[in-house]
């Protein structure tokens, strides 16, 4: 079982690599260089902070683009083209297949974040006095956030079209960053219905602000080990739940050979 999952993950990773997904990393590097060159004259004394801010935000944006746009069509493409039927005619379970695809995309994500992280640290290293290993905590939280989003996109991709899967996932990403605010806002309302709705939104969407300590890290704060641990547990719980639901939907799906 594990062997099949790893084989499928490796194949998915190879597919994304051959689709030239890593060109995005080059774009990231260009943005980092441009931000240094363009913003430096405008940000006297805060050049490193701006660079770190732009860098970390770019990592999230590019990671999100890859996860959403590759993930939303990943399964559907195989369903439409029919490549899936020869895979599932082998002793491969449908849940194994789905987990393999999820892990493959996550492997792509890790590789991208690793390369972008190295470029980021290199740029900081070249700017005197701004290099710090505390950014590694921010990298890890970004990875957890995008892993969770990966599970969300896999869930949507098993049930709706790629376009809808991408739109819904981007919606979850947006609401996920606002869910705490939505809940707090709801509690201030006099209407019971509004309060209940805000609670519902809060519990149905992941609270992605758990993973967003980028601003604090840029301003010199370090991410505590306890926070990293709790964020990991939170990410794993949401991811497993999403994959279980996705597996259940996908098991009932009718495929045509």
């Amino acid at each position: 079982m594990t062997g099949n999952i790893l084989t499928l993950a490796a194949s998915t990773f190879l597919e994304t690599v051959r689709d030239r997904i890593f060109y995005l990393v080059a774009v990231f590097g260009f943005i980092m260089l441009a931000s240094t060159a363009i913003l430096s004259p405008l940000t006297v004394g805060a050049q490193a902070k701006i660079m770190a801010d732009v860098g970390l935000a770019s990592m999230v944006v590019f990671g999100l683009l890859v996860v959403v746009f590759v993930g939303s069509s990943m399964v559907r493409k195989e369903l439409d083209k029919g490549t899936i039927v020869t895979i599932l005619s082998k002793p491969v379970g449908r849940r194994e297949y789905l987990i393999g695809k999820f892990l493959g995309l996550n492997l792509t994500l890790v590789s991208m974040l690793a390369v972008m992280g190295l470029v980021f640290l290199l740029m900081l290293f070249l700017a005197p006095g701004s290099f710090s290993l505390r950014f590694l905590g921010a990298f890890y939280l970004t990875f957890l956030e995008l892993t969770l989003i990966n599970a969300v996109v896999v869930l949507f991709s098993t049930s709706v079209s790629p376009v809808l899967a991408a739109v819904f996932t981007l919606g979850v990403f947006a609401v996920g960053h606002l869910s705490q605010s939505i809940r707090d806002f709801g509690q201030l309302q006099s209407s019971v219905f509004q309060r209940q709705m805000s609670e519902l939104v809060y519990y149905l969407t992941p609270n992605l602000e758990v993973f967003n300590l980028r601003g604090a890290v840029v301003h010199g704060a370090a991410v505590s080990g306890q926070h990293l641990f709790m964020a990991t547990v939170y990410c794993v719980a949401w991811t497993v739940l999403r994959l279980v639901i996705a597996g259940s939907i996908f098991s009932r799906k009718e495929l045509r050979g």
């Binding site: 062997g3 099949n4 084989t7 499928l8 194949s11 190879l14 597919e15 051959r18 689709d19 083209k81 029919g82 490549t83 039927v85 020869t86 895979i87 599932l88 005619s89 082998k90 002793p91 491969v92 379970g93 194994e96 009932r252 009718e254 495929l255 045509r256 050979g257």
Partner: protein, 353 residues
């Protein structure tokens, strides 16, 4: 009586008289009909399909459309079972149900004694879909490496086995080429290669000859016969009767989703049937077949269903000095049976036009 094909190659007993009779309604009833769905205990079935049913929902109102209904058959070890039927008859749906790609409404499938829903039941199964399409970012060899890993072929044996199957399907020289540069025929061959890669006991091939040129068709046919000789059990779907006649031991003809007939080709008259016109000068001899026709010019038309019967007719004519003025060769019995079963469909199509 007819459902299970023997392991031995089909013996051409041209004297055998078929058991089929044609009813007045034009439908074909099998006198040894599907009364025994599974083979005897002495010869275990590699696959048993019992009362398989599948319908699909279609259109805005999601009306139910019958895919297959009550399809049953079993295939003994080492024999070749052909699912024959016109387009839309339910061949691919039957195969999809067997492989758990679509979920049947009812019925049961056992593959080597295992439930078809268990992925482990497919460990000894090779499958070629009707329109094979694979990851086009991989080369032919990389694709087979991918499938070899899914089949748990050990790393030591993997390369040798891949070389072997590439040779078997004639794709050795194209193994390094990306699949997005493959022609339809090449995809069919690489599809066949992945199907036989795991040295499966059961091969399920959906239209294995489609997309191939005449040379390719012949090569694939030879390959299938080699696999048959190697003791592999094969289920193949097709609507090309001559291919089925050459390869299969047993044939199941599907019509509108139902198994119209399951026939052992050993018990049918393979090859062709004949019509001879005799110029009789005197009384009609008693050896004339009862279904002979007297023509307006006085000649007598006789139908014979096998070479053996034709030989007897010629001997009788020679003995009694009756001239055989013409002899016409007709299509094979299987094709005739297939056409008879599908006559209604053909009429419907004609009316629809």
């Amino acid at each position: 009586m007819i459902i299970q094909a023997p392991v031995k190659n089909r013996a051409i007993d041209r004297e055998t008289v078929g058991t089929r009779h044609v009813e007045r309604t034009g439908t074909v009833a099998d006198t040894g009909s599907f009364s025994r769905p599974y083979p005897s205990a002495a010869e275990p079935a590699v696959i048993q399909v019992g009362d398989l049913r599948k319908s699909f929902r279609s259109g805005f109102l999601k009306r139910r459309i019958r895919g297959i209904e009550g399809v049953s058959f079993s295939v003994a070890k080492g024999s070749v079972f052909a699912l024959l039927g016109h387009n839309g008859a339910g061949k691919t749906t039957t195969i999809n149900c067997i492989l758990d790609l679509v979920h049947p409404d009812g019925g049961d499938v056992k593959i080597m004694g295992m439930d078809y829903r268990d992925p482990a039941s497919r460990a000894r199964v090779g499958y070629l879909p009707e329109r094979p399409y694979f990851f086009d970012h991989l080369t032919g060899r990389e694709l087979l490496q991918f499938y070899a890993r899914l089949l748990n072929i050990s790393k030591e044996k993997r390369a040798a086995r891949i070389d072997e199957v590439l040779g078997m399907v004639g794709m050795t020289s194209f193994a390094g080429r990306r699949l997005n540069k493959f022609s339809k025929g090449m995809l069919q061959r690489i599809g066949l290669a992945q199907a036989i890669l795991g040295d499966p006991d059961l091969l399920i091939l959906d239209e294995p000859m489609s997309g191939l040129d005449p040379i390719g068709r012949r090569e694939v046919r030879e390959l299938l016969l080699d696999l048959k000789r190697a003791g592999k059990t094969i289920i193949l779907s097709s609507h090309i009767v001559p291919d089925v006649e050459i390869i299969a031991d047993t044939v199941g003809i599907l019509k509108d989703g139902c198994m119209a007939v399951v026939r052992d080709l050993n018990e049918m008259n393979p090859g062709f049937s004949y019509t001879g016109d005799l110029a009789l000068s005197g009384a009609r001899p008693d050896w004339l077949p009862s279904d002979h026709t007297v023509m307006v010019d006085g000649k007598v038309r006789v139908n014979v269903g096998s070479v053996g019967k034709l030989r007897n007719l010629l001997n009788d004519c020679h003995r009694e000095s009756i001239p055989l003025v013409s002899l016409e060769t007709h299509r094979s019995c299987l094709e005739e049976l297939f056409m008879e079963i599908n006559r209604d469909s053909a009429v419907k199509t004609e009316v629809a036009r």
